[in-house]
Each structure stands twice: as structure tokens, then as C-alpha cells.
């Protein structure tokens, strides 16, 4: 198994050499910038709204344990179930158990990034359950057998002709590359899936703690259908997504829509409080909320980077990131791509294997400026690099620095080394262009500078010989 770094390098080389795809991504985001700016300007004070959002998230996190306890009590009081999962396997086992206990054969799923985090679909399919993604982008990615490219726009890198071929091959649709017709094909195909499903799984954008509700933001209506038709509604959500009250959503819902999709408000923003109540004609008989930790408490314990948990996954930082736009979302190899993913993945999955993401940033600060909850993303990326530097160095690293130290501490050896280096410079230059060699990572795309004709030490000696005064 190759390391995340090796895979990252290979994927980046591949993605950046595909100029047509990069142009396509730039073009796809063009419309977003226009509508985002228009809607941002419609706020009477966008900066103040950001400050309010940051403050609300800050206060909610300071109270996290209490908020979650109140939330659990409220949900249980209405006959719902709340399960705290410390690890991905605990979450998967609980969900599998709910499915097993209720004889669930078919599941309709709406967009849920936490489920990508715990590889839920694989586990459910292995247990013999049919799982269908209902968000159009996620549905396309599921057919492509590929993770989401962007956690808000899952298939933004896929061209309409590719979707046409994909649909013809997988769901036997007719030949069309018209986006409206392709959408209708998916609509017709998925319609019966909602009606036949035994269980609907959704994510949540907010946990409204003191009202005991979860809030889901979407545009398509697939999440509402997933929570309305099947007899079980299961929600999988990270523990950090807390806001105190419904009234706070009046701030967060428009901000999420504007920052994330350039909309004043997304199509459907729905709050769910539990299973169907007696006076209602429909709705699920069972309501489960799985609260996932999966190392979020570890990030919470880092007071310096705790504000990374303010994130509401709007994706604004991806949309403005010069690195994301060129390397694409799949290169990251993480559940969460872009600047926010680079920031939190080392915390959630270990600095040792994921520190390279903190370096895949130009530190330009576009992400920080775009963030609606004011996470200090680019400063934190720099601090991630500092954290990475405190890790125990590798043997190679140690040897290089030992050699460097030794040579620079011995003047004669130093002079000799540089004399030799100068002599073999043409050879080094040649070797530097051979892929796979030690220096290739640096020299492959850079010119090794010509060494000066004579070194400082040589010139110093020369001057002394000519008896010029040197002060």
C-alpha cells in the first residue's frame, strides 16, 4: 500500500497535466463567483454577519457537552434515538444493527459527508443491503465508483457527455447530453427508490441542540423525500455541528447558501425533531441520530485550532483556492477536500501521514477571507507545518542534516566539497532531470544555478595576495 503522500504526488501530477479539465473547473466556478458576490452584497453587513456566526459557533463549542446532553434528552423525549459513536466502526455497527433489526433491504441516502468518512456504503452493501445515493451529484459519483470531487459539488469535474455514457451504460437511458434531460432521467429512476426504501439516511448541517432538532440544507428535495417516505429516518452527523436554537438558523441558513452556492437561500432547509407524531398522516416510525466523534474531540482539545470545528462545510474555501482549482478534489485523497480538508485531516487522521496537505497551500489567504464563520484557515495551515516539524524526523532526514552539519563545521572539508561540487555540476544537472532520483522532486521543474567562477574564499585569498586592504 502506497503512502498518502505518494498517492497525492501521483494524483497531482496527473490532474495538473490535464489542462482541459482545469479549464473546465475554472469555467464551472465562474458563475458561482458572480452569484455569490451578488448575494453577499444583498446582506446589509456581511462582515458583521460573519462575526455573529463565529461568535455563535464559539459559544456553542464552549458548551458542547451540555448542548449535546440537552439535545439527546429532547430527541429521546419525542421517541427518537440518539447514539454516540466514538469511532467509525461503532457508527457502522449501530447503523447495521438498526437495519438488521428492522429487516431493511433497501436504503435511500441523501448527501452525507460523514458517511463518506466512515465508508458506510461499503459496509451496508457488504451486509447485502441496496444503498442508492439520491443527490444527483452523489448518484453520478456512485455510478462512477468515485468519491465526491468536492463536498458540495460532488461531480463538478464530470462533463455532460460522460454522464450521458454513464447513464446509458448503468441505467439504460436514452442518448442525450442535455443537462435538463439527464436530470429528468435521474429523477424518474430514483422516484420509485424513495417509495420502495425501508430506510432513509441523511446527514445534517446543524444540530439545533436546545430545540432537539437537526437541520438539513439541500436544493433538490431528495433529502426531504428520504426523510418522508421510508419507515426509518437515520441521521449521521458530527458532534461539532451544534447551534443553540432554531432562531440561530435565521443567521446560518442564508450564510451557508450564499457562501456555499451563491444563493440567497437553498431550495429546502428542513428541521426534523423526531418520528411522526399522532396528528400527522405520514413520516417515519423511527428516528435515529448517530453523533460521530471520530477524533473530533482531539481537534477540540487543541485550543489553537478549535475554531476549525466552526466549519459548516459550505465549500467556499474550495471554490476560491488556487490549489484546489488546479489539483482538483480527488487528488487530496481525503473526505474533506481543499483548504479546510488540509487543515483538519492531519488532526483527524494523524499529522504523520497527512502533513503534506498543510504544504499544498500557497498561504494566499483566499480561504480565510471566504470563510463565513471566520476560521483562520491559512494561519492554521502554517501552524500545522510547525506542528509537523516537531515530529521525530526520518533516518534520511537525520543523515542529511548530520552531513550538512559536519561539512559546515569543518572549513577544509567545506572548501573541498564545494570544489568537487563545482566540477561535477554539469553531471548533477543532468542527473537532476532523471525522474525518480533523489533531487528530482526539486530539480525536475527548476534550473540548477551556475556556480560563480570563483568563490568568496578564493577571491579573499586573491585580494590578500595583491595586498589590497580588506576591512
Amino acid at each position: 500500500m502506497s503512502s498518502p503522500l505518494t498517492r497525492f504526488k501521483a494524483a497531482v501530477a496527473d490532474a495538473t497535466s490535464n489542462e482541459a479539465r482545469r479549464d473546465f473547473i475554472y469555467k464551472a466556478l465562474g458563475g458561482y463567483y458572480v452569484s455569490r458576490d451578488k448575494n453577499k452584497n444583498n446582506f446589509r453587513d456581511w462582515q458583521k454577519a460573519r462575526e455573529c456566526a463565529a461568535q455563535t459557533k464559539y459559544e456553542s463549542l464552549n458548551n458542547l457537552a451540555e448542548e449535546l446532553e440537552i439535545f439527546s434528552k429532547k430527541i429521546e423525549g419525542r421517541g427518537g434515538h440518539v447514539f454516540f459513536a466514538s469511532t467509525p466502526s461503532e457508527a457502522r455497527e449501530y447503523i447495521l444493527k438498526v437495519a438488521r433489526d428492522n429487516g431493511v433491504k433497501k436504503i435511500i441516502k441523501s448527501k452525507c459527508m460523514t458517511s463518506e468518512e466512515i465508508h458506510l456504503n461499503d459496509a451496508l452493501e457488504a451486509a447485502g443491503t441496496e444503498v442508492v445515493e439520491s443527490d444527483l451529484g452523489e448518484f453520478i459519483q456512485q455510478l462512477r465508483k468515485e468519491p465526491p470531487f468536492h463536498f458540495v459539488f460532488p461531480c463538478m469535474h464530470v462533463k455532460r457527455d460522460e454522464i450521458n455514457t454513464l447513464f446509458q451504460e448503468n441505467i439504460h437511458s436514452r442518448d442525450t447530453n442535455n443537462p435538463a434531460e439527464l436530470t429528468m432521467i435521474a429523477r424518474e429512476y430514483l422516484r420509485q427508490k424513495y417509495i420502495d426504501a425501508d430506510m432513509g439516511i441523511t446527514g445534517a448541517n446543524f444540530i439545533v441542540a436546545r430545540d432537539g432538532m437537526i437541520s438539513v440544507t439541500e436544493n433538490e428535495g431528495n433529502s426531504r423525500l428520504s426523510a418522508a417516505m421510508p419507515k426509518i429516518h437515520l441521521v449521521l452527523v458530527g458532534i461539532e455541528k451544534v447551534v443553540p436554537r432554531l432562531e440561530d438558523l435565521a443567521l446560518f441558513l442564508p450564510m451557508l447558501a450564499t457562501a456555499g452556492a451563491g444563493q440567497p437561500l437553498t431550495g429546502y432547509n428542513t428541521q426534523y425533531a423526531g418520528p411522526r407524531t399522532a396528528e400527522n398522516p405520514d413520516g417515519p416510525e423511527q428516528f435515529h441520530v448517530v453523533l460521530l466523534d471520530n477524533n473530533r474531540t482531539q481537534l477540540l482539545a487543541d485550543a489553537e485550532h478549535r475554531d476549525a470545528l466552526h466549519c459548516m462545510r459550505c465549500g467556499a474555501c474550495l471554490n476560491v483556492c488556487p490549489v484546489f482549482k488546479n489539483i482538483g478534489g480527488l487528488s487530496y485523497g481525503t473526505t474533506y477536500q481543499g483548504p479546510i480538508g488540509s487543515l483538519i485531516t492531519p488532526h483527524l487522521r494523524g499529522t504523520k501521514n497527512w502533513q503534506h496537505l498543510s504544504y499544498s497551500s500557497s498561504l494566499c489567504g483566499a480561504c480565510t477571507q471566504a470563510c463565513p464563520v471566520k476560521i483562520d484557515i491559512h494561519d492554521h495551515l502554517l501552524e500545522n507545518r510547525r506542528n509537523a516539524a516537531t515530529l521525530a524526523p526520518s533516518i534520511l532526514w537525520k543523515m542529511i542534516f548530520f552531513g550538512f552539519n559536519f561539512i559546515f563545521a569543518h572549513p577544509k572539508l567545506y572548501a573541498l566539497t564545494f570544489k568537487i561540487a563545482k566540477k561535477i555540476n554539469p553531471l548533477t544537472k543532468l542527473a537532476g532531470k532523471v525522474p525518480g532520483t533523489l533531487l528530482y522532486g526539486w530539480t525536475g521543474t527548476r534550473k540548477l544555478p551556475e556556480p560563480p567562477k570563483s568563490s568568496f574564499r578564493e577571491r579573499f585569498a586573491e585580494h590578500k595576495k595583491q595586498d589590497l586592504s580588506v576591512r
Binding site: 444583498n42 446589509r44 453587513d45 456581511w46 458583521k48 454577519a49 462575526e51 455573529c52 463565529a54 461568535q55 464559539y58 464552549n62 449535546l68 434515538h81 440518539v82 454516540f84 443527490d135 451529484g137 453520478i140 460532488p154 463538478m156 462533463k159 455532460r160 443537462p179 436530470t183 435521474a186 429523477r187 417509495i195 436544493n219 433538490e220 428535495g221 431528495n222 426531504r224 423525500l225 426523510a227 417516505m229 432554531l246 435565521a250 443567521l251 442564508p254 440567497p264 437561500l265 431550495g267 429546502y268 428542513t270 426534523y272 425533531a273 411522526r276 407524531t277 396528528e279 398522516p281 405520514d282 413520516g283 453523533l291 466523534d293 474531540t297 477540540l300 475554531d307 471566520k374 483562520d376
Partner: protein
């Protein structure tokens, strides 16, 4: 089901929070020389405009709904709404409607055209096959052009999202300014006993997942009508 990890996770949270993080104002004030006041949580006057009187709110709502490609139908009275609905049915050739038991719905929806009243129970496939679902709502929100729905005001969860067209019946008095007003209204109406599902419908169902091109009617209604009854 027992939940062994609950206390474990909560304990980890409490332990993690023993070290307090700097407040957002402290973090973002660190590049400035002047001390920074704490941020407020009072956001209402920072949000998009919502109109300060009835006429303004109505104009903003109409403009927003239009931008969302929803259809605003002004009706003088419930009887007028009934006539306009019948005309719409005739124009589109709609024969099957679904609705729920509520005063406005009973006044506006012709009984012979609506075989499904969701309060009496319904077959899922039959509800999916109607031409339009007609519901009341909690309120209309000018600021965003949204319809606030709840299971109690809209005949359950599916009626407003499963049929291919959603028609909302609302009185002029149901129009509020911003999202905060909408939640205040829900709070005053239901107190602690909130509906099991509520939220905002903002335009017809939409997607931009294919090449970021807007398509209406992804999974929910392809069209959204708001019958705005002036009386």
C-alpha cells in the same frame, strides 16, 4: 439500546474544553493595535433587507419568488383563488389533485378533483401520480421569498414535496419580514410542542450538479405556485 460511548465522548469533550480557546474577537483582533470589543450575536440588522411595512414586504417577496422561478398568483378572495385554480387545471389538463384538511384548502380546492386528502391516509404511489399537491403554509418570508412549511400546516411531510407541482395557499396576513420573524411565529404558535418537521421551501426543486447549469425539478416539485389571497 445501550450506548457505552456516550459518557466516554462527553468526558472527552469536557476534558478537551478545560483549556479555553481565544474568542473570535481575540483571534481576529490580533493584527490590530486597538483592543477589540467582543462580537455580538445580534445579527438581524446585518441580514438581507426584509421590508419595513406591508407593501414593501409584499414587493420584496414577489421579486424574490420571481427570481427563484416560483410563480406568484395574486387573488382577491378565496373564491377568486378557486376560480384561478380551476383555470389553471383546465389549462394544464390536471384532473387529479391532492390536498389536506384545512380551511383554505377546503375553500379553494374543488372536492371532485382531489381524490387524496392526506389526513385520511394515502397510497404512496397514488400520491406520486397526482398532478399537483395543494397545501396551506405557516407563513411566507419576504427576505428570501420562502414558504415556511410544517407537518401540521401542510398535511404531513410528503404532500408538499412528492407531487410534481406544489401549490401554496396563503393569506396576505401570513406574510412576514425575515427568517427571524418566521421562527418567532412558530415559537408563539406552538411553544414547547413544535411540529416534528418544519422548514423553508425556497422556489421549486433545483440542481446545478451537471456542469453547474441550473435545472428545475430535480427530485421535488418542478413548479411552485404561491396563491396570495388578499382578503
Amino acid at each position: 439500546m445501550n450506548n457505552p460511548s456516550k459518557e466516554k465522548v462527553l468526558a472527552r469533550i469536557r476534558e478537551a474544553l478545560r483549556l479555553r480557546a481565544p474568542s473570535p474577537a481575540q483571534i481576529h483582533g490580533r493584527h490590530a493595535n486597538a483592543p477589540v470589543a467582543e462580537y455580538t450575536r445580534d445579527f438581524r440588522d446585518a441580514m438581507p433587507p426584509a421590508g419595513s411595512n406591508d407593501a414593501e414586504r409584499r414587493a420584496i417577496f414577489e421579486a424574490n419568488l420571481d427570481a427563484l422561478k416560483g410563480q406568484f398568483v395574486a387573488c382577491k378572495t378565496a373564491a377568486d383563488a378557486r376560480a384561478k385554480l380551476e383555470a389553471l387545471c383546465a389549462e394544464r389538463g390536471w384532473a387529479k389533485l391532492a390536498t389536506h384538511r384545512a380551511p383554505l384548502c377546503e375553500a379553494v380546492v374543488p372536492a371532485e378533483k382531489s381524490p387524496i386528502i392526506t389526513d385520511d391516509g394515502y397510497d404512496k404511489n397514488a400520491l406520486a401520480a397526482v398532478d399537483a399537491g395543494i397545501t396551506e403554509c405557516e407563513c411566507l418570508v419576504a427576505q428570501t421569498g420562502s414558504v415556511m412549511f410544517s407537518t401540521r400546516a401542510c398535511g404531513g411531510r410528503a404532500l408538499s414535496v412528492l407531487p410534481p407541482v406544489h401549490i401554496v395557499l396563503a393569506k396576505r396576513s401570513q406574510l412576514v419580514g425575515d427568517l427571524s420573524d418566521a421562527y418567532a411565529l412558530i415559537r408563539a404558535k406552538y411553544g414547547e410542542n413544535l411540529p416534528d418537521c418544519l422548514g423553508f421551501i425556497t422556489g421549486p426543486s433545483r440542481t446545478g450538479d451537471i456542469e453547474r447549469i441550473l435545472v428545475l425539478g430535480a427530485h421535488g416539485p418542478k413548479e411552485l405556485f404561491v396563491f396570495f389571497i388578499e382578503e
